[in-house]
């Protein structure tokens, strides 16, 4: 497995773990009936996003220590796969922005606006990394 493919696996795992961590912190409060305006979502969201960045960096180093790659430089195929993933994943960034726009117009609580944006970031990361992994495993489409 190439350096870039290992990085994509890590990105996928961290995206899932980070959002699960966030939900495990915020969801019990929401389910307990706390009004969303009073739910403390900012700190967990910042911890989840910041933690994901740190874990990705540390994880990348640890993975290379345990399973060293032949080369840490990507090539033309890695760049093509990277572009494909970004193009597919960016659709959710747009959906998140549109969702936040509509919620703002409806004067929804900031909780919902922030959560729609964060959820779409996570979905974009999932779609992006899954697209890349499929391209690595099954091949790069030539349409």
């Amino acid at each position: 497995m190439s350096y870039e493919e290992k990085g994509t696996w890590l990105y996928l795992v961290v995206a899932i773990a980070g959002y699960s961590f966030y939900l495990s912190w915020v969801l019990p409060e929401v389910l307990a009936g706390t009004p969303v305006a009073d739910v403390d979502y900012v700190a967990p969201m910042l911890w989840a996003i910041g933690g994901a960045i740190v874990v990705t960096i540390i994880g990348r180093i640890l993975v290379e220590i345990v399973f060293p790659s032949e080369s840490t430089k990507g090539d033309v195929r890695d760049r093509e796969i990277d572009r494909l993933g970004t193009r597919v994943g960016s659709s959710f960034i747009v959906i998140g922005a549109l969702g936040a726009l509509v919620l703002s117009m409806l004067e929804a609580d900031w909780f919902w606006i922030a959560n729609v944006i964060y959820l779409c970031f996570v979905l974009a990361a999932l779609l992006e990394s899954i697209t890349r992994l499929v391209a690595y495993r099954k091949g790069v489409p030539t349409w």
Partner: protein, 81 residues
């Protein structure tokens, strides 16, 4: 399912004819990763025209001795079956 490419190649046999050149050695000469050479050999990645010429040059053969593309007749037969 999107088929990555219809281009087939003889890189594997060309490698063996070239003093059993390894995938790693070919990758080094092309400036790509070994995984990319594997993907090209298995038809999971269609290289750029420039890289295709580089591969042919490594083996000292013309481009169509390395890569083949099904002609129109075999296309129709494939579609009919």
């Amino acid at each position: 399912m999107v088929k990555p490419t219809r281009v087939t190649n003889d890189i594997r046999s060309l490698r063996f004819r070239a003093s059993e050149m390894t995938q790693a050695e070919l990758a080094k000469r092309l400036g790509v990763t070994r995984q990319t050479v594997i993907a090209i050999e298995q038809g999971r990645y269609s290289p750029s025209l420039e890289m295709a010429f580089q591969i042919a040059r490594v083996f000292g053969v013309p481009l169509d001795a390395v890569f083949q593309y099904p002609d129109a007749t075999s296309d129709q037969q494939g579609a009919a079956s």
